[in-house]
Symmetry: C2
């Protein structure tokens, strides 16, 4: 309990410490954990698993259904649609650059991409599988997956495990990074990469205080150890018209996981990378436009009313955070010759 | 009415005419209609539209959801899952090599791929859009689509029309062909391309009489004019245990469209290309295994009981109809910077 409280306090300290913005470009590669080194074979397997809808109960929902890598890595919906048309309470976070987050999910309940990858498969309102054994039974029933697992985990006695499936998906996700946004080019020295309004918005971003939380290369806070969340209370100023309108406070955030009073309304600070592509906004997806979202943030987190000019400049800057998306070959999903694994 | 009846009679005539099987390889390219010549720009646009879930009411279903080009071009489900988890009565046909079919849908109600492409978007149990105007309003609201339409239809005064969207999707679908299956290689002279059982199964396929309907390069009947369906009654022998078990006769087929008595239980003869990848089988997806499917076909269409050996040989041959799938680059779906078109 003490540990969790400390995290939130340290987050609040960050507010006062990081006013002097340190602009950082996005690294060209994401770090991999020691127990899951990157390999091409893992990425190939992970991409297939990520795209394959057969590991949802009805066979119609893949990771990519809600984290569409052909667009902003989310689904552009307030909430996602899962098993039997059920809707969750939170908006799907983008998978792009998730590799740079120290924790996963809005409440930071997963320490790693590997851990996160197992969650939606068995969530009864998401992919709806009874358990991971049932999901792995489907993987094993599809003949073409065995050689992909063997190639990805050549030293494993039994390669086809849920841990290895999660490792492969995580390895694939670590390739989903978007360097070379106008902002990145600007920071690296190409002063023509951002236009005048974007540069003005960048200054506004620091002056208003957005950098207090949205710092670092991923605009999701200071570099933390893996599994260590950078949390903020949202809304920090709860009694606003915005909160009445958008019902942000209805979600108790990390408290739902920890039942720790100090975690009430605490959320992981999300990345702002490619934020222009991931409307609607906030944990409940209640705000449809980026222009409104920046006004909401200033008011609920900093107690400030933005002028129309400030908001427009911030939006211009945030659009400069849209990066370059790596070209991907569409995978061939391994076949089940003459049968189907979907009931 | 007379016209429709003639078609069915001509189909039955084909049964007696085509016993001497003419083995044909799949062409390397599909024909395009005069009013929709192929172009790279159309294919690029069509692929994006095909993959984009935003033209379904809830923004979660694309053409690819039920016609997954990463696998067999269908969804490996008995029926597809559409808007608000609704299920249709028929199994999604494969989009692979659909360009070689003279009509589209199980009942042949669409003459062309262009016409077909418009159907699911506004089907209330599929993608669920109110009408095509509403779908086009979404297309137009996504800024990145305008240049793709202009590139694809450079001479059009108003490029962003539902007809052009359908043309682009159809152009993309005409690239979805799978040549060079073991069967194709065998027919073109590589006698090592099929193994002994597959060759035996090929002979069984002709001897038993499968070629009566599953003839031609696409194994979907003789070459017909576009819009002219090659129909068969299914089941032709209705009083079988199979029909009791799988309830094939519950669907009146083309009759549902034409209300013509002669069209009762008439269905388009489906392709057998990549049939090993598209379980479960038949218009209602009631049969889960290819081995069972060939027995059902022999009994219900030819009145024959296959031996276990014949069935196994036929399955081996049908597996030789799995072709080479062209490599595709995953499209970037055009963005909506700072907003979403999904309500």
């Amino acid at each position: 309990m003490y540990f969790k409280r400390t995290l939130l306090v340290s987050s609040l300290m960050a507010v006062s410490l990081s006013v002097a913005a340190q602009w950082e470009a996005l690294p060209e590669a994401a770090p991999s954990p020691a127990d899951n080194p990157m390999s091409e074979a893992k990425v190939v397997l992970g991409q297939a698993l990520f795209m394959d809808p057969r590991f949802s109960k009805d066979g119609n929902i893949s990771c990519n259904s809600c984290h569409n890598v052909m667009s902003g890595g989310d689904d552009n919906r307030p909430n996602s649609i899962g098993f039997h048309d059920q809707r969750g309470g939170r908006s799907a976070p983008t998978v792009w650059n998730a590799a740079f987050q120290s924790v996963q999910f809005w409440d930071g309940r997963a320490a790693t991409l590997e851990e996160q990858a197992k969650g939606p498969v068995t969530n009864p309102i998401e992919m709806g599988m009874e358990n991971l054994d049932a999901a792995m039974a489907r993987v094993k029933a599809i003949p073409g997956y065995a050689p992909l697992f063997t190639a990805a985990f050549p030293d494993a006695k039994d390669a086809m495990t849920e841990d290895n499936a999660a490792k492969a998906v995580a390895a694939y996700e670590r390739t989903l990074i978007t360097p070379n946004s106008p902002y990145d080019k600007y920071v690296k020295g190409d002063k023509s990469a951002m236009n005048a309004q974007q540069i003005k918005g960048m200054n506004t971003f620091a002056e208003v205080g957005c950098t207090a939380c949205h710092s670092g290369a991923n605009f999701s806070g200071p570099k933390m150890e893996t599994g260590q969340p950078f949390l903020m209370k949202f809304p920090t100023f709860p009694d606003t018209e915005y909160d009445k309108k958008y019902q942000f406070s209805a979600d108790l955030g990390r408290y739902e996981v920890t039942k720790n009073e100090a975690d009430k309304h605490a959320f992981r600070v999300p990345t702002l990378r490619n934020i222009a592509l991931t409307a609607p906004y906030f944990h409940n997806g209640a705000v449809g436009h980026l222009d409104e979202a920046v006004k909401v943030m200033a008011k609920t987190q900093l107690g400030k009313d933005l002028s129309a000019e400030q908001a427009a400049d911030l939006v211009a800057f945030l659009n400069a955070l849209t990066g370059e998306f790596p070209e991907q070959t569409m995978p061939r999903l391994p076949a089940t010759p003459g049968f189907t694994v979907i009931q």
